[in-house]
Amino acid sequence: MSGFASRLAWLLAAIVALASPMAQAIDIKPLVSPGGIRYWLVEDTTVPIISITFSMAGGALLDPVGKEGTASLLSRVLDQGAGPHDASTFKTLQDDAAARLGFWAGAERFGGSLRMLRDQRAQSIELLRLALAEPRLDAEAIERQRRATISGLRRNEESPGSIASRTLYRATFGEHPYGRQVDGTATSVGAVTPEDLKALAARQLTRNRLIVAVVGDTNAQDIGPLLDQAFGALPPGDSVPEAPVWSPPPPRSGGRLLTVQRPMPQSIALMSLPGMKRDDPDWYAATVMNYVLGGGGFNSRLMNEVRDRRGLAYGASSRLSYYAQGGVFTASVATMNERVAESIAIIRAQFDLMARDGVTERELAEAKQYLVGSLALTLDSTAAIAGLLHQMQADNLAPDHLTRRRELIERVSADDVRRVARRLLRDDALTIVVVGQPVGLTATE
């Protein structure tokens, strides 16, 4: 077979490849426990394991000004002793049950996860109940976790990626809570008192907008009473905390460029534009645009232009992130100081091109195939499936969303993508942060 003919066969094979209906293979059941805890369940008996992921509204939004990092610190102290058990005993009990319990604080939610062996589920759930209902918050455990947090913050203080991200958040969100670091700063974490943590625990650990996802070797009869045990004793909570409305920075002709000088051979550039909320009608058009532009890994325009054609960087990518009150579109690249200006110029030119012409029909088709087909690939463990179920609930999506999502993606047209590109990729709304010793770039502020 000639090279050309076989080459064509390859491409055709790839184009006609239809995304499999894998997402529908997951049977999501929205349920209510005997005690009234709402949860989503996927029964999966592949391995005798059960994964639970849950969260409550709040997180870093509840941090008092000047005490940023309070929620994050609480998440680190919550598994450091509960009920009659000090930290070491509590860890030992987790080990003995082979249970994996952890908590986290996000910008707008506070949550945790528990992975457990099926035949250890009673013991494991009891540990979760203790941590939520009877946390000790011992002064010594608080100090230990505070030291660890401050040490971690110091480790990141001079990491170039972290500097770039902090600077960009500040420039994008200003004084809005989204501009804070969830982990706080050494000073703000130092200011958090044990009383602050106790007050936050009382306010945060409630059934207020509690979201629960369960995946694994169990069923409604089995897990319902256990969820009542874990969450049933929590107080209902008062109001649902909400972030204030966020207004993007005012437009500036040519955008903004901030530089942070650091002695490094390579500059890191982050670029951001106001994005959109998750429930925006154009969300999937934006998702397709992002995939073609820089979200599609080796299949994206940015990767082709910056990496493959010119060898300017190991990677160039973009993403859409969102909060309750807004969203951002960000792109990133890391290039040697002498050529970072070139990388940024190429990315800006790609933004302009996308805003002007949108995507080709072929790019559109390929993006849809990937976006529809790839979701199921991420569902390779009970924890991953529980994570998806949790996120869907946090995003106010319906249990049958995975079926609808496919339709919504397939409905996106090239015109939709061009419209959303024009709306988002505005040169005068662009903020660029460069960390390193960039050559040929002049900061605007």
Binding site: S20, I26, D95, R144, Q266, F298, Y370, D380
Partner: protein, 454 residues
Amino acid sequence: MISRRTALGGLLAAGALAAPRFASAQGSTTLPHPGRFGVETFSLANGLRVVVLPSARAPVVLHMVWYEVGGADEPAGQSGIAHFLEHLMFKGTQKTPPGEFSKIVARSGGRDNAFTSHDYTGYHQTVAADRLEMVMEMEADRMTNLVLTDKEVIPERDVVLEERRSRIENSPAALLDEAAREAMFGRRGYGIPVSGWPDEIRKLGVAEAIAFYRRFYAPNNAILIVAGDTSVEAVRRLAEKHYGPIARREVAPRVRSDQPGELPRLLVRRDQRVRQPQWGRDFLAPSYRMGETRHAYALQVAAQIIGGSQISRLYRSLVVEKKIAVGAYAGYSAGALGLSSFGFSATPAPQGDIATVEAAMTEEIDRFLQGGAREDEIVRAKRRLVAATVYARDSLATGPRLFGLAMTTGRTAADVIAWPDRIMAVTAAEIEAAVRAVLVPTRAVTTHLLPAET
């Protein structure tokens, strides 16, 4: 290990991470699991070894090819060629145009990537189950039909240099780690960074890459692993069809030095980019394959007891009781063709002092050497290690990694399967003998990562 696009999260850091636990059925290579998971191995006539791990959770398969070649197999003066070739494997064949491999996978809704370590190089795709043959055909094609031209190779060399800047040169901790490896293993083999040295990378081109490719990329030097929604019969049929026709090629046995670098050594790196000091000490240690290999299992249990968790001796002593550190750990991985290391690390508390931490770490190590481990500590450590086997089975990727790592570093699938039993069989006396043989101050590299002097 470094990878083409993203680090495979903690894959090797969790070297001690457990294998799936299988009951072995005598007289058969099929080893059914008490649950719904099994593994089967077979070989093709051309020497390709095949591992199949069926799991019907989702209609998805993971397809991997691991080659028995890595950074430690590079010719002198060509550091980085194994990793560079890994990148170049995406630059096309007669059938697959340059850069199309990943795009074809993505168009099918799939994901792909690759990684390189000192001992192995791997390529993997996760795709819908009905796309298995497509990725297998492409992977088999590039096992023997790679086409390289300057047009593709030269920009990719710049990519590799940028990757090194991102991962190593922009990070004082990574630079210190690189120096520590060289001190531990000498300027050869494991002592040379997988990413290569920039002045040597700049001299690599098509000729070097193709020579390396011809030398090591052959079916008899590779392991095919398929996991997910498939069957042994289907994999056997497809593997015979696509990999079967590839000719066996003579591959010289790999050599690993059993000589250490210049030990003991103290390496201090002061850098204005450092805000949080870090202390480390690595002892030259055996692996499953080199040195006093009989200690390999006992050392894994020992590392758990000394510093594997928040209830370990180091964490309790330095972090909980003395409050001089915020973290204190020990770690050991036996999976290497050559020698390995048994490592300790500690992060001083804010306002803490690295000398105090060093003294306390040394004291705890000495206490362990003199007093050995208590029975309850041994029981807990083993339980912790073996419990991880069940969690390992929960993920599509973990099992294949364990088999790939083992089979590219001189072990067999049977060794992976026997791992939990061998861990459970470790005795207190074996732990004592192992740590006394390995934790010898004259065979250690100590590192201090510190802020610049003011």
